[in-house]
């Protein structure tokens, strides 16, 4: 596509606020900053932006991809014509991503009819293209071939990413943790507020933390007095171990946010219910939700599956969440009442009941 030599010297890169932004942006920020490349972010998702995106692709395409295309158009409108579209193919040997995410650069290249330059690094561990090659591919696009400079930039990127992960693990929300890690300081929460009812939301980062797609699900739940856990609050090892503990295998690369988190909280009995949030027509989600539903049913854990698409009506969404939370509260109350009766009847068991968690607290 039309590449201006002027632009190449400018060293500016546009990162769409979609898909891998929600998982990897702290790393990208540190990495590009160390390489001396300015980052231009697209605006937050709006209905207009989604409409722009969905005009370009066929109607069967899922919502996150439409949103991604909308963000790319937004960046081009802003005058940034170097756009970062990573192709994250697999995260381990034969653990592949969803086809649409793997083919993201292919879609963008063929769908947008404007001249622009695309930075399209590939990460494919099945084909032995590791993370360092991924970073090298990015740097080489900007005429940076100095190995030591790339290495130090990678270290810089990990530093920002690690502080982000540390904050999210301690219970900070995505927005707060992102802002703090970019500003360069680390805040951890020592005290955790305990609430009567807690749920885990299993959803991809790009669905859950995008306020337009998820319709502010987390805020809505917190307003109702529900403690919300997400995939960000669990470490990678815990996710993998709990998937194995359920006798399942990791089939998708981005599975940990969903089945990993849900399995961890379900196995450790930390939550009262599971909320699954997925975009309409998402292939991997349909399988993962089914998998967790199977295990939740076995363990008698309530679960609700919410599907979002381009529609803007929030009423149906809110009604379902409210009904679910009401059900959880009633269930918990009944459970506590039964336990109190037990306690009165047999005073010997008192300590035992205490040991079991009545209210969900943070025990890490």
């Amino acid at each position: 596509m039309g590449i201006n030599t002027e632009n190449k010297n400018l060293k500016r890169i546009g990162i769409p606020r979609a898909i891998s932004y929600y998982n990897n942006y702290p790393f990208y920020f540190g990495f590009f900053k160390a390489l001396g490349i300015d980052i231009v972010l697209s605006d937050k998702t709006t209905t207009k932006l989604i409409n722009q995106g969905s005009q370009c692709v066929v109607s069967d395409t899922c919502l996150p991809i439409k949103v991604f295309v909308g963000h790319v158009i937004n960046l081009l409108d802003k005058g940034c014509d170097t756009i970062f579209v990573p192709a994250i193919q697999s995260s381990a040997y034969k653990v592949n991503n969803c086809s649409k995410i793997r083919g993201l650069p292919e879609i963008i290249r063929n769908v947008i009819n404007r001249p622009f330059r695309m930075i399209e690094p590939t990460l494919d561990k099945t084909e032995n293209i590791g993370f360092k090659d991924f970073c090298k591919q990015i740097a080489n696009e900007f005429d940076i071939y100095d190995e030591s400079k790339i290495d130090s930039a990678i270290v810089e990127g990990w530093a920002v990413y690690n502080s982000f992960v540390k904050m999210t693990k301690s219970g900070l929300s995505f927005e707060e943790a992102l802002n703090c890690s970019i500003e360069g300081h680390v805040i951890t929460k020592n005290v955790e507020v305990v609430k009567p009812v807690s749920v885990v939301i299993m959803a991809h980062g790009y669905n859950l933390f995008d306020e337009r797609i998820s319709m502010r699900l987390i805020k809505k739940l917190e307003k109702m007095g529900v403690k919300v856990y997400t995939g960000l609050n669990v470490t990678r090892e815990d996710c993998v171990n709990s998937i194995h503990a359920l006798d399942e295998i990791q089939y998708w690369a981005n599975e940990l946010d969903l089945t990993g988190a849900a399995a961890y909280y379900m196995l450790h009995n930390k939550v009262d219910g599971i909320i699954a949030l997925s975009a309409f027509g998402c292939g991997p989600d349909s399988l993962m939700v089914d998998e967790i539903q199977y295990h939740a049913q076995k363990r008698n854990m309530p679960m609700i599956h919410l599907t979002t698409d381009e529609h803007t009506g929030e009423a149906g969404f809110v009604t379902r969440i409210e009904a679910f939370v009401d059900m959880l509260v009633r269930r918990k109350r009944k459970m506590l009442e039964n336990r109190n009766i037990l306690q009165l009847n047999a005073g010997v068991q008192k300590n035992k009941v205490r040991d079991e968690k009545i209210l969900t607290t943070s025990q890490r």
Binding site: Q89, Y93, G103, E106, I107, N110, I249, G283, S286
Partner: protein, 399 residues
């Protein structure tokens, strides 16, 4: 770390030994005419088999009832095949797992779980093509039959492969003769006759003559050689392409409209490519050809048959094919990507493309209207350019 990687490697090998070899009754899901060669192979190895009923509306209904909403159409049909086979007395189910990396890799796991939940007892044997090709296949068949005689294996595999090739040869003849036949239905009748003969023939020696006799028999069909026949390329998702029930028998409909159909990939081509060891593949395989042709539009393979679809469309445009019909089941992930790309390919390579999405809905009229309009468009495009034959062109459009 080692434990984890080992787990990932062995993640699909779940063969149980709880059923004795002589008690095994084997069944497999249906796709097109895959039952004929597999039957020959397993019977030669000495196994008892059950063939589930052919795919139909009732089969689909059973599958839809027992599977989750979001999964794709091939799984629903496969699951129904399994259920029907288990009802008919099967206790061993076979399924392959090709390196496709779409939802196909999860089929066996899900089917296993669903069937266990429904209360069936069975053993699922999986050929895991993730790890090795021929070894896994032989291992799976050994596990099922416990046949120790190597001559039987050679004979069985030889017979199976030959039958695959024979069916494909018959299909190729059919696709050529159907649009050109004078008496409608004669090519179809001939094809059915030969399919039965292939099914009945169980000696490798007889197959030496069968191919030639089949060719001669097809040549007896009266055809109109002067008829101008536009050529349409069929491509898209593997299962939909090969299963006539799922694709509403589109090949027959097109043939009766007077259109020659060429299929993207025949089953035997694919099988030969998948099963032969990679060092024997000296000729450029279908996939490599596709990667070469698709280079302008796609730089990396993304799983499924996406790159094949794009590559074959470009190939079709460069080799004088008049139109492309792209088929996929509803919510197929790789094919949605290729559908996005195809609109640009169509514009730049100047080839008409029609995308058809198949799902549980079995109404045929909607598809037929679209296909008819598409064929009219192709005919007009093909014959308007011939300025000499204006009269002929008008006749063409009329019929």
């Amino acid at each position: 770390m080692i434990k984890e990687s080992k787990r990932q490697l062995n993640r699909f090998s779940q063969m149980d030994d709880n059923i004795a070899a002589k008690d095994r009754v084997v069944a497999w899901p249906r796709m097109g005419r895959i039952d004929i060669p597999l039957k020959a192979l397993l019977v030669t190895l000495g196994a008892k088999i059950v063939i589930p009923p052919a795919n139909s509306n009732e089969v689909l209904e059973l599958g839809v009832k027992n599977s989750i909403e979001g999964i794709c159409l091939p799984y629903k049909l496969n699951l129904a095949n399994y259920i029907m086979a288990l009802e008919n007395g099967a206790n061993t189910l076979m399924m392959f797992q090709a390196p496709g990396s779409c939802r196909l890799g999860n089929y066996t796991k899900m089917a296993q779980k669903t069937l266990q939940k429904m209360g069936y007892e069975f053993d699922m044997v999986i050929f895991d093509m993730y790890q090795s090709k021929m070894k896994q296949t032989v291992q799976a068949f050994w596990h099922v039959t416990r046949c120790l005689n190597p001559i039987r294996y050679i004979r069985g595999f030889g017979l199976g492969f030959t039958k695959f090739f024979a069916i494909d040869a018959a299909e190729k003849h059919l696709l050529y003769y159907r649009p050109r036949e004078i008496k409608r239905g004669s090519a179809e009748a001939c094809y059915k006759k030969w399919l039965n003969k292939i099914d009945e023939t169980n000696s490798l020696f007889k197959f030496c003559f069968l191919f030639g006799r089949m060719k001669k028999d097809f040549a007896k069909i009266q055809i109109d050689k002067t008829r101008k026949v536009p050529i349409v390329y069929l491509l898209g998702e593997f299962f939909v392409l090969l299963d006539p029930y799922t694709n509403q028998n589109i090949e027959k409909e097109l043939g009766e409209m007077g259109v020659e159909v060429q299929r993207q990939i025949m089953f035997s081509d694919w099988l030969a490519h998948v099963l032969t060891p990679s060092f024997l593949n000296k000729k450029e395989s279908h996939r490599e050809r596709c990667v070469r042709y698709a280079e302008k539009y796609m730089k990396r393979a993304i799983g499924g048959e996406c790159i094949e679809t794009i590559g074959d469309t470009v190939y079709a445009a460069k080799h004088g094919i008049d139109g492309v019909i792209h088929m996929m089941p509803f919510s197929c992930m790789p094919e949605i990507v290729s559908q996005n790309i195809l609109s640009k390919v169509s514009k730049e390579e100047n080839i008409p493309v029609l995308s058809l999405v198949f799902d549980e809905q079995t109404g045929k009229a909607g598809y037929m209207t679209r296909i008819e309009a598409f064929i009219d468009l192709i005919k007009r495009k093909k014959f308007v350019n011939d300025k000499k034959n204006i009269i002929e062109r008008e006749e063409m459009i009329k019929c």
